[in-house]
Amino acid sequence: MHSGGSELIKFLSMTVQEHNPEEWLEKYGDYLLRYAIMRLRDVTAAEDVLQETFLAAMKGLERFDGRVEIKYWLRGILRNKIVDHIRKAVREQPYENLEEYQKPDETKMKLFGIPAQSPRPWEFEPHLAYEETEFWGIFRECVDKLKQPLQQAYMLKELEGMSTEEVCKVLEITPNNLWVIIHRARAHLKDCIESKWNR
């Protein structure tokens, strides 16, 4: 079973090695570009990381073991390139308004405790809207409208599923900053989605 499995992986790897990276660009270029634009909000930067992704994939093809589809393998490389891009951008231009995300709700928290953190209930049931394409268009639009560092932190933590430690390292912020940032991002998103969802 094991030798059969490894034979299959070898076979798949060989099959992939016969593929032309230019074919990947043709097949997956649009999807990967949209993935990068959604995360970087900058078409030029997205195109640059896409190019870096294809070059890295071509150079690292020997490491591809055929366990995942080539499309998702490329997406994994792209994801790392996006994180590198954000890390570099933050190093070059650190956030100036981090004090704002230090303890902004502390007074409210001391006075009222948890209710100060708790938003009013949703005006509609979001779970029921998940099957509507329009809902996700609004969601994307609202994520796009988040200011920095809210958007980058939300993207890395909630959409990329990175741990608190990893996000803090990339964005050079403290866990306390991140807590407040994510809390604010969720609240903004909720307000934005509700204001645009007219049903």
């Binding site: 649009d30 949209r34 071509m58 209710p115 209930p121 949703w122 996700w136």
Partner: protein, 90 residues
């Protein structure tokens, strides 16, 4: 039982999905009994479900709308790939 502040911390600061089964049990017991934390918990869970829902659908959604790679950029990438391939061969 855990306190309200610990609930807030577990939901926002700590990674909820990484909590142990026992911690999740106490957290769920607390939010069922405490109205304030219940509302807060529901908000955080709904936002996490929404993010997960988007991730699950992003690929399908992006195939129907959004930007496409423009021909000039595509050609630039192709050219970079050819150069890199040539360098590799040398």
């Amino acid at each position: 039982m855990i306190a309200c502040k610990q609930v807030a911390k577990a939901l926002e600061k700590g990674d909820y999905n990484k909590l142990s089964g026992w911690s999740k049990f106490w957290l769920n017991a607390h939010v069922k009994l405490c109205t304030m934390c219940g509302g807060y918990h529901k908000h955080v869970m709904t936002m996490m479900d929404t993010a997960r829902g988007f991730n699950e659908r992003e690929e399908d959604l992006s195939s129907t709308e959004g930007s496409c790679l423009n021909p000039v950029t595509a050609e630039r990438i192709r050219s970079a790939l050819r150069d890199a391939e040539q360098e590799k061969a040398e």
